[in-house]
């Protein structure tokens, strides 16, 4: 399969004020195929944001190579192509919105790129429709909720027609509705337009909804697999300061007590289903 991002033996070091060198990423290998929706988990300081910043050349590796759609990120001539291929969305929507009208904000990057005005109009309208914010195009950003602002920030990236979007904790500051709006938008962009997404998050239920979960610890990749596989390793995740979805944890505790339940449950509805199956098997009546 064609890789949109390929990190090969990547090491990243930074120097602190005393001139001591700290290694944040250590000989890390990661391939992300086109069209995948990948969650990256890890405790604060595990290196996941540092890694994400390598995906559109905000940071360059100290050792090893990162390829974005086949382009080496160390090639200064190709910086423009790299940034157009991979867009980034950050935690705080207020730091990403620059204009006073929603549609102007979405057009900002296109104007800087010198795109033809008629083309800008078309792409801005399409991007706003894709994130479900078209009817707010004339609003001032400060009138929007957190989830809406974050979707405007995503539209600004989508308008550049990237092949991949990297989102660094895009829901950390949002209320539950804002979180689900943003998650639905990312999923839709992935399914309908084939946009690869890399989602850095501390919310295990969001990671459960991705195609693949990569767990980082200490600058390396500790686990990598489909959500069911990764989340079934409850103790291993807890040992690196992470968590599992509440549905998974409930089943885990019941299994610890010796009850025969399947261990790969990650969603609430399948947790309820599995418990119902088990209870019936134990001859507990459901006639209440």
């Amino acid at each position: 399969m064609e890789q949109i991002i390929s990190a090969q033996q990547v090491t990243f070091c930074y120097q602190n004020d005393e001139g001591e060198s700290h290694e944040v990423l250590h000989l890390l290998d990661l391939d992300i195929p086109k069209g995948q929706m990948v969650a990256v988990l890890g405790h604060n300081g595990s290196g996941k944001s540092t890694l994400a910043k390598h995906f559109n050349a905000i940071l360059l590796p100290s050792g090893g190579t990162v390829y974005v759609d086949g382009i080496d990120t160390k090639d200064p001539q190709r910086l423009f192509d790299i940034r157009q291929t991979v867009g980034m969305v950050f935690q705080n929507p207020d730091n990403q919105i620059v204009a006073t009208i929603v549609e102007e904000d979405v057009a900002f990057a296109l104007e800087n790129m010198g795109v033809d005005p008629a083309e800008i109009r078309r792409r801005v309208d399409e991007a706003l429709q894709e994130v479900g914010m078209y009817e707010y195009r004339m609003h001032a950003p400060h009138q929007l909720s957190g989830g809406q602002k974050q979707r405007v920030a995503i539209a600004g990236i989508v308008a550049m027609r990237p092949k991949c979007i990297v989102l660094d904790e895009p829901t950390a500051m949002l209320d539950p509705r804002g979180r689900s709006e943003v998650m639905r938008t990312i999923r839709k962009l992935n399914e309908q337009f084939g946009i690869t997404s890399v989602l850095i998050t501390h919310y295990m239920d969001e990671a459960a909804r991705c195609d693949r979960v990569v767990v980082m610890d200490d600058g390396k990749i500790l686990m990598d697999g489909v959500p069911r596989e990764v989340f079934s390793q409850v103790e291993r995740l807890k040992s690196v300061g992470l968590d599992v979805p509440a549905a998974t944890e409930l089943i885990y505790h019941l299994r610890q007590k010796g009850y025969q339940l399947r261990q790969d449950v990650i969603f609430e509805d399948e947790c309820a289903e599995e418990l119902a199956r088990f209870l019936k098997e134990q001859n507990v009546d459901a006639d209440h």
């Binding site: 604060n44 300081g45 909720s145 500051m173 509705r177 505790h253 309820a272 507990v284 459901a286």
Partner: protein, 288 residues
Amino acid sequence: MPIIKTEDLTYIYSQGTPFEKAAVDHVNLEIEAGEFVGVIGHTGSGKSTLIQHLNGLLEPTSGKVYIDGQDLWADKSKIRQFRFRVGLVFQYPEYQLFEDTVAKDIAFGPRNMGLSEAEIQDRVRMAAQFVDLPEEILEKSPFELSGGQKRRVAIAGVIAMDPEVLILDEPTAGLDPRGRDRILGQLKEYHRHRGNTVLLVSHSMEDVAKYATKVLVMNRSHLFLYDETHRVFKHAEELSRMGLAVPQLSRVFTALAEQGFAVNPNTYTMQYALNEIEDLLEGRGYHA
């Protein structure tokens, strides 16, 4: 006598302009001393505006705020004392650290209160202990610390004022699961030890379910509910309509109850959930 009381508290932004908006609308509230209150509400519901009235950062447009029976605005020249009695930790408080050592930063509040040097040092040590900051960190620059440590320093700075009411606005936003559990566990311990009143503003229903004895729900500038935690999460449909949610586990148990199993649909903590399943298996089903 309630420690916090509001009477028809109303706050109007941009009064007299076309943008006039009531952020808090006739809120009547009585919070008894010693509660651990979870404060929830969608973005823009008015919860931040409400809490800023509780230590006099905002002056009501109309209505009253009482702390321990005293009208906050009876004598404007005395408003400062309420800032010491009601401690407020803002979102991302680590951005407000400014002194050159951790100890000096924590001492800033107590020093402003005019305490003796010996008392200030006692307070700094006490507060540092509550948030589990080791002695050797106290003489470091706050800027050398990790994100989670910085946030604990900022919280310690407010705890050091030994307020009767401690209010925290999303103290765990952006922290990983371990950092989150650590801060909330410390707060719970602090609350148990000091016996004062704690208000925790949070978008995480799981955290509120786990720690709060009571929950205050703001919706569209109004107080929707203030009640015991288990009673509040019974309003699953209304909460989800206002952009909130109920904890994952309650959705699992609601589904099981709907299928006819004798479980309490209003189950939202892990321990209670495990007990419910085991009771059912032992033939001791839940009866409403």
